[in-house]
Symmetry: C2
Subunit: 344 residues, 2 copies
DNA sequence: GGCTTGGATGTTAGCGCTAACATCTGGTTT
DNA sequence: AAACCAGATGTTAGCGCTAACATCCAAGCC
């Protein structure tokens, strides 16, 4: 004589879209079989699979990734943390990462720190909370608490751009050596009064590493290595302004070594307008190897870093680590190349 | 003689990180109270809140976003779908979106279609599966099945870049009018033999819309409107190549109207090297208003579209819709501006 | 025939959180 | 003093899926 009506179920929100259970009912199998059709189709008999696939199409099922990720404690998210989105360099790296990860079914979660370490730590926390499958982060230096948290984390961590011993995996190049390399080139060309000019160099410590390489080489040769900094983010406009200012305040300067190609190109384009001859009046060098440096006149002397390759290689390494494949070197030097144009 | 020990609980994976329950135990409250401290701190007594916050710090709790989103059927993800990451325009739009959404605690899920409608549909499905809070998608034209799926979806949808009546919200500009506007400018300057040149124009139909505006205006004035297309993605190199080819194969051309600034700048920089005078020998116009167009010599005549503003406005509209605020116009015209340089 | 075997499929019990409803305070009202 | 109330906190039942274990069944073997 029990109550034939169950007490009415509590209502939950839920857009009540069709679920796995609906598909299972529709195709006369269990939910786990539907799950298998989605996740490992080869483990289901073709006939069953087709039946399930037909049912999926019929009911218009869209799988709920949240539920799946929660149940398996794995989201197939790759957390990617970069310091800037205004800088083309990171866009190219992201492109390399995205292309490679996408092929393997991973989705990127993109975070932008704006060169702020606190913000970086917050982003790391959030992204770990999404059960990300791996983390790709820019640089080797982080907030202490952030580094500690990452060291406890059990999943692959890839630190990119800068070469060195990091938490786990690493793909990058030596910015110190790159700075040295360009300084050597300028010396070889006979320039002695050389100014280094960069923007936002307190946050962007890789630019500072390049400066240190540059400075050390010049000092070893008994030369001074003056540094000019601008607080604004790198842009053609800032390069032009930096150029004007250096020409006025440091007359006699023979060469300007800019922290990146955008600044350098801004300087060259401004020089063209102002009737200042590059390199006859002053030589100009950059760093990064952006395409437009090779289209302007004079072509820019720069150091080419393989930006997209960094992304691709980093992604491949991370995927290898996720799949448990052995990794030969946890640190990968992508190197750089001096590209001598007409501007030095 | 039954086993005195209960059958051992099944083990689940799970990185056994501390959970809400651990924090609750540690601070002597229930899990829901901890949840409230995290989600609506004002609804918890300050004393309790402090106790809970201390416990969170003590056990090193990191909240599991997947579980929360599943339970509430809302992920605070914003799905953003763009056709390309190589094009600076979309980077700037993304920047505008990201800055605004981040302030409100939303995380962007970025998808790149590479101008492929099938791929777009797949991305939409995946992103709906993440219980995204809203969708921002480029353009008004999608796969029919995709449009149908979106129309059934109950959450805010924002179609950007192109102005017109869409599925839900819309922020953009009229590409047809922009093309017409530039064509009018070229006519005003006295040019008559005008070539339109673009790349990947089958996928990038907004460039085609601009061409149609250009063509219609020229035809209304009794002129022909030849079109030159290149299959490669837009790049300085392609602009240079297009320029060379047009100068050879269409000698007598007075002006070239390029589909975007990158192509146009590539053409100008190449002309400079080749000793061809712009605009005396041939005029060149672009579209977008990228900063470097104003730094090269001659300064590029172009149409400026407010890229970052599109992102910011779109994000604000979406947030208003999510928060249930009234929206005056579901379609927002950000307009464009003719920027006359020295190249026409 | 009975036994083994392995591939296909099913059952169960969570993953960690929050919506909905329930209860418990302590102060205010009449 | 009983009734009332609002704000703080607790209990319960899922959200939709998958890992782990269980079962089934046809083929292969002696």
């Amino acid at each position: 004589m029990s109550n034939p009506e169950l007490p009415e179920r509590r209502k939950r929100r839920g857009a009540d879209n069709p679920t796995l259970a609906d598909v299972a009912r529709e195709s006369g199998v269990s939910t786990i079989t539907v799950s298998r059709v989605l996740n490992s189709p080869d483990s289901v008999r073709p006939a069953t699979r087709e039946r399930v696939e037909a049912a999926i199409a019929r009911v218009g099922y869209v799988r709920n990734m949240l539920a799946g990720s929660l149940a398996s404690a794995n989201s197939r998210f790759i957390a990617v943390i970069v310091p800037s989105l205004s800088n083309v360099v990171f866009i190219e790296v992201i492109h390399g990462l995205q292309t490679t990860f996408e092929k393997h079914g991973y989705q990127i979660l993109l975070g932008n720190t704006e060169y702020d370490m606190r913000r970086e730590y917050e982003l790391v926390q959030t992204f770990l909370g999404w059960s990300s499958s791996a983390l790709v982060i820019t640089g080797l230096r982080h907030d202490a608490a952030c580094t500690a948290m990452l060291k406890r984390w059990q999943k692959p961590i890839m630190e990119i751009m800068e070469l060195g011993q990091g938490i786990d995996l690493n793909v990058g190049l030596s910015h110190y050596d790159a700075g040295r390399c360009m300084a050597q080139h300028l010396l070889d060309r006979g320039y002695r009064r050389i100014v280094y000019a960069g923007s936002q160099m307190d946050g962007n410590y890789r630019a500072r590493l390049r400066y240190e390489g540059h400075r050390d080489l010049l000092q070893e040769n008994g030369l001074e290595a003056p540094l000019e900094e601008w607080p604004e983010a790198s842009a053609l406009e800032i390069g032009a302004r930096a150029f004007r200012q250096i020409m006025v305040q440091r007359s006699g300067t023979e060469a300007i070594h800019f922290a990146d190609d955008t600044l350098a190109a801004g300087a060259i384009l401004h020089a063209n307008r102002a009737g200042i001859r590059v390199p006859d009046d002053v030589a100009i060098a950059g760093f990064t190897g952006l395409p437009f440096g090779q289209h302007i006149t004079p072509r820019l002397t720069t150091i080419v870093s393989p930006r997209e390759a960094i992304g691709r290689i980093a992604a491949k390494q991370v995927i290898a680590r996720i799949e448990g494949k052995p990794i030969e070197n946890t640190s990968h030097d992508v190197s750089f190349e001096l590209c001598i144009g007409e501007s030095t």
